[in-house]
């Protein structure tokens, strides 16, 4: 009989503790709900700094950008979020009906290509697609120099990449490479050769994790991943392909009809301020969209945008042809296994 009683009291105590601690948290007066597709480290860094400066508490909802957009879409009758942050330019462009326009105080510092002409969304940071190399598994100077080098059969099964069906950047990279390798069937054929060497992972975070931990010698990922692992002591090298790469923008937008519109705009201004961008770069190596930071003298010593060769990329056309393209990539993946 004693045991039963102990059970009851344990359960009762847990519920009670929960109720007591859960109560006050909901009574926040100044807060902002951010739908963030960023990883937790970046979120925590920025949200803490924002709360410290403004006194506005951030309620984050963190998830993949797909989930977040789905949520905004299904919540459109009664929006729950104030800001969506960390999603790609194409997702911002295709979902403008859910966002409300706001002219950021930092607008002038952001190149025109990285913001909406009607100020519905604004870019925050840029991702350059790079090749990551584990220098413990592949000696520093024996790695690839370009995308074309990756077609070498010696890399078979040694390159980590994300499933383009599940990652915007992987989709962009794959389609950019079709163009880079000559476009049309010629381009597709080379991409197929590339996929022959690739391990297609389900989650993008598995790429830097896999290369950093030595599961895969090479990986195709966003540049920040390389710098994060490198700066924390992993044998990681970041390679900017000589044949050119592609830049992807991540930005934010104010959710139309969100519960805290003032806090939302305050946050949008905050994340694009020069000092905030410096803080972010120092800690998480996100390349800012604004071009007035002295990258060479900041941690990581990232090259300036002007020093990186970019390959031509027709984003609009590929976004248009997404469904068919994804099917084709699926077939290639299946065929090359």
């Amino acid at each position: 009989m004693m045991t039963k009683r102990q059970f009851f009291s344990t359960v009762a105590a847990l519920v009670l503790i929960g109720a007591v601690t859960a109560g006050p948290a909901q009574a926040q007066s100044k807060q902002v709900v951010i739908y963030s597709a960023n990883e937790a480290t970046l979120d925590t860094l920025v949200f803490d700094a924002f709360a410290k400066e403004t006194g506005i508490k951030v309620q984050p909802v963190s998830s993949g950008s797909g989930v977040l957009v789905k949520r905004i879409e299904s919540e459109k009758a009664r929006p729950q979020g104030d800001v969506i942050w960390g999603i790609s330019r194409s997702l911002l462009q295709t979902n403008t009906q859910y966002f409300s326009a706001y002219t950021s105080k930092n607008k002038a510092a952001i190149p025109a290509e990285y913001r909406d002409p009607g100020d519905i969304w604004i870019g925050n940071n840029l991702h350059v697609m790079v090749i990551l190399q584990n220098t413990k598994m592949v000696p520093e100077n024996e790695g690839p120099k370009s995308w074309a080098d990756l077609l070498d059969p010696k890399w078979r099964g040694k390159i980590a990449f994300t499933d383009p069906a599940n990652s915007g950047s992987a989709f962009t990279t794959s389609t950019m490479l079709v163009q880079l390798f000559g476009g049309g069937e010629v381009g597709w054929k080379k991409v197929e050769e590339l996929f022959r060497n690739i391990k297609v992972l389900n989650r993008s975070s598995l790429v830097p994790q896999g290369v950093g931990n030595g599961e895969y010698p090479l990986g195709i990922f966003l540049e920040y991943g390389g710098y994060v692992w490198q700066s924390n002591g992993a044998p990681m090298k970041v390679i900017y392909p000589a044949d050119g790469s592609v830049v992807q923008m991540e930005g934010c937008a104010v959710v139309k009809g969100g519960p805290n519109p003032d806090a939302a705009t305050a946050f949008v201004d905050f994340i694009n301020r020069k000092d905030t961008r410096e803080l972010i770069l120092k800690n998480t190596f996100r390349r800012p969209a604004r071009q007035d930071l002295d990258l060479a003298n900041l941690p990581g010593k990232m090259p300036a945008m002007s020093a990186i060769k970019l390959a031509p990329y027709d984003e609009a056309a590929w976004t248009e042809a997404r469904a068919a393209t994804l099917d084709r990539i699926k077939d290639i993946i299946l065929k090359t296994r």
């Binding site: 847990l14 109720a19 989930v67 299904s74 009664r78 389900n202």
Partner: protein, 551 residues
């Protein structure tokens, strides 16, 4: 015509509540999700084109085959491992049995994606164990691919087979066995022809749980499948792919997933429906007297399996005390992970405790009466309810989560943004477990007790509340705590449904692992393990007192 109304009031009321609840929070949301798979692009007219399109693609057919292969492989493997283990623990003199039994349920506690992460660190291409093996000349050991998935699933889900089978072996009256031997059968023959067939329903229901868990799980193949298409993963990607989902195709895969699990469920019901072995041991069979060799073998086997299954546990706990710089693991002891976690994870921990308690309590409140009605009032209506109440087994958490968001974000009932939607999702998902556990308990309570009470003038509803529930109490508490523990490690629905302040420990873990703080993730996992192991040990003690199993 049957004059049934005389005693149908109580079961009808329970069935009505159950159907209303499941209709509203299970079938309606699912309908919303699956509707898309039957509609043409205009969203108006009915079509099967989506099915034709998806099934015509080799990629998706491969995902179906892979999922079934792995699911069946894991089911066979768990059975092959779990049944002998159950027999050893039930009948052979294995030292440390109580400890073994307590440890054996632990694999259910660790969220599967954390377990997969730990396995990669151990048995990945540059895993600690793989490297050690390579150093002594054994190459090519890898946790990736089909065999790896089957291994991880097997070690994670074998308790589903072990626990009910163990209970069944113990419930076989020794006289049955003696009769077999008396008729001239050897012990070995008695095991194959008498004991195993009598325990078969228990083995089968455990195996079914394994099949369903492995089919719907996406956390493990997400990490370990690499290139291989897996049904649950592809469905997840199509539902919430970063590049924009494809609701029609996703719906098709979702329906396929549900179809597979439903077929398995129906096969099992068909099989069990034709065999009813009520044993209820008067005399629990004694431990067998065996030689030192066999005893040693059994001991090595039991401890070997249980410890192997706990490897990811030890690994995660060990990792949480190691130094992480950003995402990079450095050898060396450190408490930083916990300090960093402490900064921001008190609220998620509380959320986990509160939400899991509310949902487990709710699941008991709803599941126990349903289990009672299903067990005591067989009818066609009860059969339908039985099937409906088992559906959540077959539904991936992600799918249910999306359905709930779609259904309850606007209109007359708005639930998004409130913690209630998480509680409801957990409740629906864990309901089958509670219903089954309640049935199992009820099978051990003589129905004539309830009839005696009713006969003495107490209404069926009051009899249930004042007689049956107290008699079931030990089992109910045990079942509720087990539910509580599994809810605490739930991720797939949570990640879709949580809002603002209601992130749970698993969300923290998932995000930390997704991002660059694996250290914080392992620390969070350690905290979750500690928090859930304590009640689990209490359950275990309770179950031992009642000599029963809840699966």
């Amino acid at each position: 015509m049957r004059i049934a109304a005389a005693r149908a009031g109580f079961p009808l009321a329970v069935a009505a509540v159950a159907f209303a609840f499941l209709g509203l929070f299970l079938l309606y949301p699912l309908f919303g999700v699956f509707k898309a798979s039957f509609l043409d692009p205009t969203g108006v007219s009915f079509t099967l084109d989506n099915y034709a399109r998806v099934l015509s693609r080799a990629f998706y057919r491969a995902s179906l085959t892979n999922s079934l292969t792995i699911g069946l492989g894991a089911t066979l493997a768990t059975t092959a491992i779990g049944v002998p283990l159950a027999f050893c623990l039930a009948r052979l003199p294995v030292p440390g049995k109580p400890v073994l039994l307590a440890l054996a349920a632990l694999p259910l506690v660790l969220p599967s994606f954390v377990g997969a992460y730990a396995w990669v660190l151990l048995l990945g291409r540059s895993g600690i164990v793989s490297q050690a093996l390579r150093a002594i000349g054994i190459d090519g050991v890898s946790i990736y691919g089909k065999h790896g998935l089957i291994l991880v699933y097997t070690l994670q889900t074998f308790p589903y087979v072990l626990l009910p089978t163990l209970a069944a072996f113990k419930a076989i009256d020794v006289s049955i066995e003696e009769a077999g031997q008396n008729l001239g059968a050897s012990r070995w023959r008695v095991f194959w022809t008498v004991i195993l067939p009598v325990a078969a329903p228990a083995v089968l229901s455990g195996a079914l749980l394994v099949l369903m868990e492995t089919l719907e799980n996406f956390g493990v193949p997400f990490v370990l499948a690499e290139d291989m298409p897996i049904l649950a993963v592809e469905a997840y990607k199509l539902f919430i792919g970063e590049v924009g989902g494809n609701p029609a195709s996703a719906g098709v895969l979702g329906v396929l997933l549900v179809a597979c699990t439903t077929v398995a469920l129906l096969l099992q019901r068909y099989y069990l429906g034709r065999r009813r072995f009520a044993t209820g041991a008067r005399r629990t069979p004694p431990e067998l007297v065996v030689g030192a060799g066999l005893r040693g073998l059994a001991t090595a086997y039991c401890w070997g399996v249980v410890l192997l299954a706990l490897v990811p546990f030890f690994a995660v706990v060990a990792l949480s005390f190691m130094e992480y710089r950003g995402p990079v693991l450095h050898p060396g002891f450190s408490l930083d992970n916990f300090l960093r976690l402490l900064d921001r994870s008190q609220r998620p921990l509380m959320n986990t405790l509160v939400l899991a308690s509310a949902a487990a309590g709710g699941a008991a409140l709803l599941g126990v009466p349903i289990g009672y009605v299903l067990t005591r009032y067989r009818s066609r209506l009860a059969d339908v309810l039985d099937i409906v109440a088992m559906i959540p087994f077959a539904i991936a958490g992600t799918v249910l989560g999306i359905g709930l968001v779609i259904s309850f974000n606007s209109g007359w009932l708005i639930l998004t943004g409130s913690p209630l939607i998480l509680v409801l999702a957990y409740l629906v998902r864990k309901l089958p477990f509670n219903v089954r556990a309640s049935s199992a308990i009820l099978h051990q309570i003589d129905p004539s007790l309830e009839e005696a009470s009713i006969n003495l003038g107490v209404s069926p509803a009051r009899t249930f509340l004042t007689l049956t529930v107290p008699l079931m109490m030990g089992g109910i508490i045990g079942g509720t705590i087990l539910t509580w523990v599994t809810i605490a490690s739930e991720l797939s629905a949570t990640v879709v449904l949580y809002s603002g302040p209601w992130a749970t420990m698993t969300v923290v873990m998932f995000q930390a692992l997704e991002g660059t703080s694996a250290g914080a993730a392992s620390a969070a996992a350690t905290v979750l393990i500690v928090v859930t192991v304590v009640p689990l040990i209490l359950v275990h003690r309770l179950l031992r007192r009642h000599e029963m199993s809840l699966l």
